[in-house]
């Protein structure tokens, strides 16, 4: 009776932590894990407590499924939000993930900045542009204080398409880099267990 309660509590907790996964997939996962637990208890003679301990906490097990789903979806997506979420998750897996995450932040911030300044040019034309003085770049983007003459804006209304193109390219390039990193991150996804590689099992 206690063992049954233990199994059901574990399964119930696992199900609740599988939240973002579709109901069909969730029930499939839960059914499979329940079958594994019953098989392990029946075939190996281990107690239910031992089997559950070896399986790991339900929230950690669920996190492995959720991570796999997030990274799989993001690696096929162009949504910056989804890609950023996946790169943040990747950052928790190691140094290379942290590098990808910060590259993503910088890339999207720069790209987004260019796009926003293109729109800002429409509303604050005098405060947005590319200013040079004596052939040297003084300032660019949207400025609260416009550089004083002899500095002058050389872009004019060409700033809008130029900033949109550069910003969009930066966002696309950042997305491409993150997707590439996520696709080669299967090694990181495999960073789930095996740490007991020298322990006998069974």
């Amino acid at each position: 009776m206690i063992q049954t309660m233990g199994l059901e509590t574990y399964i119930s907790s696992l199900r609740s932590h599988l939240g973002p996964i579709t109901i069909g997939d969730r029930e499939e996962i839960v059914r499979e894990i329940a079958a594994y637990i019953r098989d392990s208890v029946e075939q190996s003679g281990l107690s239910l407590k031992s089997v559950l301990e070896r399986l790991g906490p339900p929230d950690e097990l669920a996190a492995q499924y959720r991570d796999g789903l997030l990274i799989r979806r993001a690696s096929r997506s162009i949504s910056p939000l989804l890609l950023l979420r996946a790169s943040l998750r990747l950052a928790t897996k190691g140094l290379s993930g942290i590098v990808v995450f910060f590259a993503a932040i910088i890339g999207y911030a720069m790209g987004g900045g260019f796009v926003l300044s293109a729109f800002a040019k429409c509303f604050f034309p005098a405060h947005t542009g590319v200013w040079i003085r004596d052939g040297e770049l003084i300032s660019s983007g949207t400025q609260f204080e416009v550089p004083s003459p002899p500095a002058h804006d050389i872009a004019g209304w060409w700033y809008v398409p130029a900033a949109l193109v550069i910003g969009s390219l930066l966002i696309l390039l950042t997305s491409f880099v993150i997707r590439k990193a996520l696709r080669v991150s299967h090694m990181l996804q495999a960073k789930l267990g095996l740490l007991r590689s020298t322990e006998p099992v069974g």
Binding site: D25, E28, I29, R31, E32, I33, A34, A35, Y36, R38, D39, S40, E42, Q43, V51, R54, L55, G56, E60, L61, Q64, Y65, D67, G68, L69, R72, H186, M187, Q189, A190, K191, L192, G193, L194, L195, R196, S197, T198, E199, P200, V201, G202
Partner: protein, 139 residues
């Protein structure tokens, strides 16, 4: 092997490296376990333990099988067998077999090159072990 590891200046680093190496091979090993036919999760775990010394944390293999199935490399079906409950059996799909072929060829090429590179090191290790064994036998 164990003696050499014990003498290493950084045994933990060596063990971490070995664990990383095993992790990297896990996806290929999971696919390879299904080469001869369908198996369910617990059978895959036991097959890997007995055939490849890949001893898994139990919660490891299922998310990997789930991902491989989502990628179309595996297919699965629930089977009512002699057990009192149904079991989920996995099989390789054609793309899965193709991927495994590619992985196996890449692995064999990589391992072959490294083995040649490591031959002198392994020979040296064997010589040391042989010398130590002789010294232990002599009174």
């Amino acid at each position: 092997m164990m003696r050499l590891r014990a003498k290493s200046s950084e045994p933990e680093a060596s063990e971490r490296w070995e664990a990383q190496l095993r992790k990297g091979a896990l996806e290929m090993a999971a696919l390879a376990s299904l080469w001869h036919g369908r198996l369910y999760g617990l059978e895959i775990i036991r097959f890997l333990e007995s055939q490849s010394q890949l001893i898994l944390a139990e919660g490891t293999i299922y998310p990997i099988l789930h991902r491989l199935r989502a990628e179309g490399l595996l297919t699965s079906e629930w089977v009512e067998a002699e057990a009192r409950h149904p079991r989920k059996y996995y099989s390789l799909t054609d793309p899965g077999r193709q991927r495994l072929h590619e992985m196996a060829e890449a692995w064999a090429s990589f391992a072959g090159g490294l083995t040649r590179l490591l031959d002198p090191v392994l020979n040296h290790s064997r010589n040391i072990r042989s010398t130590e064994d002789k010294q232990e036998v002599q009174p």
